[in-house]
Symmetry: C2
Subunit: 351 residues, 2 copies
């Protein structure tokens, strides 16, 4: 927690008000659905309503002070802010709602600084304990995936397969899917966010599986292409571009490289192989308490990769109305390389 | 959509800016994860980024105008607001974030009215089509529940049973759980929000199942107490109070009754039977596109029950460290009665 105290000092803030629940969890270890944190160095206060007091007492990190509140959050934090003589308060510009902002302002003694990614940037570099949870999430989702693809047969629906996969997430000890499971076969694969549908799966077409699970709050994220029987040569050709591009990304990623540079290396490779116009999204994103978090790995990312950041590497190509292909691993950035957390073959998996 | 146009006129607004995604869905039929709506009678505009344009085109209600945007939402709605000469804009006080509020304000030509429950109050009374979806969600979750409890045996974990239940939700055509499934046995039942844990289930103790599923965006919500073998007389005695209290709630609920009055009738019954201090939450809540929505059914609810509102009736008692009991149906309010959407016995279900 030293990092947030230092950052508050660096920004010359009196305190920082945390509304985003993942940031509250990060700072306090409280896993409930609703709560606020106020960081006033050297104290961290967690505000919860009576539904969550028992849970908070069980969960929070030593030294976090729990305050049970009722009614308006602003009037409840007032006393803490007064006690610590806070007059300059940082808030989360994209997360605090207008009601709470106005109520804080109406307290009458605060200058409020709207800030972006204040806690998220601290969360980018993971601790060993956090890495271990992400490793475990990846291993659970991999085991579940390997079991599930054995059930593929012509005529089964995408949702049936998705529900078999999610069922096995829980059986292997996962909490819940880290996002809506994608099982998109044939032309539905050309929708980058095409969640499982009632479409039935046919032979010889690529099926995009994009899936992940939470373990102790931390996410995994994997994409593989599977087919029942061999795919045709057109699909194979496009896939080999994606497979090599993704390999290039894994080979080049390391601490010190700009995230935007990594995106460019892979993007250029795909463009040089004639498929540039079909790769329509960023190369990847951070993974942690959120499935999509900093650092974003795309052309506009301002971040430099650092040791123990966790990112995805996921080039894809989408041929509208025909098919789509994507290959994705979740990896840890190391000093001179990566640790790949997804122990699966990179080829199309033919069942 | 006439209702929202009328309300905008009634409030003398030029337009209403919708940030809450469930409200965006309600007004446009768009089911994606991110988007904004601007209601400027007689038009409704849906703003989505490029990820969702294809989906929006497939889904939206006739007459909704789709605008694909990039970058800041405020600068994108500017042209629409100028075209319609809007100077007085309603926003959702609890949902709009500080960034968007400030950006709208900085456009320089708007007076902004922060409003609460503007769309939510319209959503309280359901259409026939919405009721049909909630009926179906209730029927899916009931079928899944009846199949799942056959698997109960001493030593199985709560999470195992929860994952079997959620698996069957999908098999029966549900989308996803409408909240984290609660399977809380023995003393864990005394936590009103005790989600399934790795605790193993024992014989002769009450197991609280609280579960629901989404179907076409609409939720169901049910609670039943199950046991493996008979429970002891203390549990039976407390349960009979809850069972009779819940029955009273179902008998008294009808259009024209204040929600707070319904809460009081049931609460008084439980208090008169000596368990008042153990019933710690409101009697129920509205169910629709959100699992908890208006009208709340508690002592402070300002709402009068109206025909085709959908609410839960769910009294419960919690004996800390010992056990908990709750019984819940989702019901439609009718002119002189209710339609109960949960076709399950109200007794403790002994397997």
């Amino acid at each position: 927690m030293e990092k947030i105290f230092e950052k508050i000092e660096e920004f010359n803030l009196g305190a920082f008000f945390v509304s985003k629940i993942e940031n509250v969890r990060y700072l306090t270890n409280f896993t409930g659905e609703e709560g606020f944190a106020v960081v006033v160095p050297p104290e961290i206060y967690l505000f919860v309503d009576s539904r969550f007091t028992e849970q908070a007492n069980k969960e929070v990190t030593k030294d976090v002070k729990i305050i049970e509140y009722a009614g308006d959050i602003a009037s409840n934090v007032k006393n803490v802010l007064l006690k610590h003589k806070v007059h300059f308060l940082g808030v989360e510009e994209y997360k605090i709602n207008l009601h709470t902002y106005r109520a804080l302002k109406n307290l009458g003694f605060l200058v409020i600084a709207p800030l972006t990614n204040f806690v998220e940037e601290i969360r980018m570099v993971k601790t060993d304990e956090e890495l271990e949870k992400i490793r475990k999430a990846c291993s659970i989702s991999t085991s579940a995936f390997l079991d599930t693809i054995k059930l593929l047969k012509p005529g089964i629906t995408e949702t049936d397969i998705a529900s078999e996969l999610e069922y096995r997430f829980k059986k292997y000890g996962g909490e819940k899917p880290s996002f809506t499971t994608i099982v998109a076969s044939g032309e539905r694969g050309s929708l980058p966010h095409g969640v499982a549908s009632l479409n039935t799966i046919k032979e010889h077409v690529p099926i995009v599986f994009d899936f992940g699970v939470f373990f102790e709050g931390f996410a995994s994220d994997t994409t593989r292409v599977v087919s029942i029987g061999d795919v045709d040569s057109e699909v194979k050709k496009a896939y080999s571009v994606i497979e090599n591009a993704q390999k290039l990304g894994r080979e080049k990623a390391k601490a010190g490289l700009k995230a935007s540079e990594l995106d460019k290396l892979v993007r250029d490779y795909i463009a040089n192989n004639g498929l540039g116009e079909y790769f329509k999204h960023g190369l990847g994103h951070g993974v942690g308490l959120e499935i999509h978090e900093l650092p974003y790995v795309n052309a506009n990312s301002p971040y430099i990769l650092q040791e123990n950041m966790v990112i995805t590497i996921e080039p894809g190509v989408y041929f509208e109305g025909r098919f789509g292909l994507r290959l994705e691993d979740t990896v840890i950035i190391k000093e001179d390389s990566i640790e790949n957390l997804i122990d699966l073959p990179h080829d199309i998996i033919v069942v």
